[in-house]
Amino acid sequence: MSQITQKKLLRKLLLRQKSNNRLWVSLLALCVGTTLLLLSVMVWWNFKEILSGKGSNDSLGSTFLTIGKAVTNESMAKKGATFFTAKEIDALKGAPEVQDVGMLTSNRFPVWATLNTNIAFATEMFLEAAPDNFIDKQPVNWSWEPGDAQVPIILSSDFLNLYNYGFALSQGLPQLSPQTIQLLAFNLKIGRDPYTETYNAHIVGFSDRINSVLVPQSFIDYGNTRFAGGQVIAPSRLILKVKDPSDAAFVRFLEERDYTTNSEQLKWSKLRSVVDAITSATGLLAILIMGIGTLVFILFIELTIAKAQQSLSLLLQLGYSPGYLSRFMFRRFLPLVALTQGVAAGLAMYAQYIAGEKVKEMNLALPTVPGWPVWTALLLSTVILLAFVSSGIYRAMHQQK
């Protein structure tokens, strides 16, 4: 004869629901609510990751900004009006979101570039140097010492674009790939006649971050000392490492002081507020749906207990403890909660994976698994849900005699 376990008997007595429609509806609502909640946290977190992310997201210009003082009609008349004073640099170091400030040093001596090919080409140009830790992709041979004949140069990728899509097309010149450009060697003639020096220069890399022609700091320092008497000249452009360039306080700081920057880089601040609004609206909706789901779920539990009321009080009369019966009920509903939370977590992981793949096509990087805020939201919602379930069971159980 088959053995009847105690659990089986209790199930027979306490959980004989014919129609489970209410249960499925409430579980669905719970699942949708949790998924929405996780997704809104995820969108918020992903956006934050892209804005304040490291490494490969730099091409967005989101973490490094070059700033200068706006040239106005008044400042045009005053020499040195666009230079940054030491006080102003200190103020910038303490500005909201700013993590580091670097000075761009420019050349105080004439520079001529000539191409030593059969195309006769010569142009006057400018050079700048930035502290090494502000250069995004530092090439291996990025160094120069007095006596070196070779000078490495990092060119702004914008300049290459200007040449390829503007200049080359209109002048009937060949378009050049970054690889080809790096093969080109040209001469740099620095100083005033008759005291000039000539170096071999070649482009070793492109920067998305700094809109300039960069040479190693030591080269600029050498030239400035030799040809311009080495007097220290205040910088007119600064490079800032900024945690979140869309931060409203930071944007206000720049505006108040009339500092100019690539305004494109600040467009994120508007987008950011839109995303914030959308995610918080979705989050609220998610909490609302979850709330309704939880409510229906708890009503279902209370209904189950109410339907089993007679059996329940007889079990108590036979010596079953309320704690034991509560735990039995809780264990019955626990897998259902785990199921909804698990499905929601699965959907969130899938969404994050898809998002990670999608932004890869845009040359941005996002993790392919959800980050800690998503897991925290999941954990928190599960704990709250379980607290509601167990208190619902406890209440219903202690109404019995």
Binding site: Q6, K12, L13, Q317, S321, H398
Partner: protein, 214 residues
């Protein structure tokens, strides 16, 4: 376990009780472990009420009831279930079986709570009381007599120091009462337990140590 009943008056019976001399209501009584007590109670004197008070099913009374250290007026739900599972067993007047379970399942619900009696023993007891063939019948299809015998066996499937019986044989004929009394005596002795039986008419089913009039 000693039973103390101190000046207990059920609130719904308050006025009625003052009209006559009850040996129990509003009296100070101590019943010692292992005693066999018969309570004769003409209808309407609160026999079932008394049994329910002793078993902790209701609280609407004045006075105090305690089973040794367990004070029934202030007992916590978990303590009460412990008391019912291991010290105090009851045969309800209205049987109180689960109608949707079979006779055997009704016994198993109780037996598996403490596992003090083996399955085999429980089956033997069913045979002894003549309901072995009703093992797999749903409780709601059993006659009152059969239900009463299931309820009697169920009360014996746990360890107990006291067995409370509220008109336990009301639906049984003499032959079946004899069998049931023999079984109850046997199990009570094994448990070294006392018993309290309440009924309408006087009887000598057990060797009562005292008889009280409600």
């Amino acid at each position: 376990m000693q039973l103390g009943i101190e000046h207990v008056v059920p609130i719904p019976l308050k006025d009625k009780i003052n009209e006559y001399n009850s040996w129990i209501w509003n009296q100070d009584i101590v019943i010692n472990p292992g005693e066999k007590v018969f309570i004769q109670a003409p209808s309407g004197t609160g026999k079932t009420t008394l049994m329910h008070l002793l078993y902790g099913l209701r609280n609407d009374y004045e006075g105090k009831i305690h089973w040794s250290a367990y004070n029934m007026t202030a007992i916590r739900p978990e303590q009460l279930s412990q008391l019912r599972a291991s010290y105090l067993s009851i045969i309800f007047q209205d049987m109180r079986l689960f109608p949707e379970l079979t006779a055997w399942e009704n016994l198993e619900v109780k037996r598996r709570l403490t596992n003090t009696i083996t399955e085999h023993e429980a089956e033997k007891w069913m045979e002894r009381l003549g309901i072995g063939h009703k093992r797999d019948s749903l409780a709601r299809t059993l006659s009152y007599g059969e239900q009463q015998r299931v309820a009697i066996i169920r009360a014996l499937l746990q360890p107990f120091e006291w067995l409370l019986m509220d008109e336990p044989f009301s639906h049984l004929d003499h032959a079946n009462i004899k069998k049931a009394v023999a079984l109850i005596r046997e199990v009570t002795e094994t448990n070294n337990a006392g018993l309290i039986l309440a009924d309408l008419e006087d009887n000598d089913f057990f060797n009562y140590t005292r008889k009280l009039l409600l």
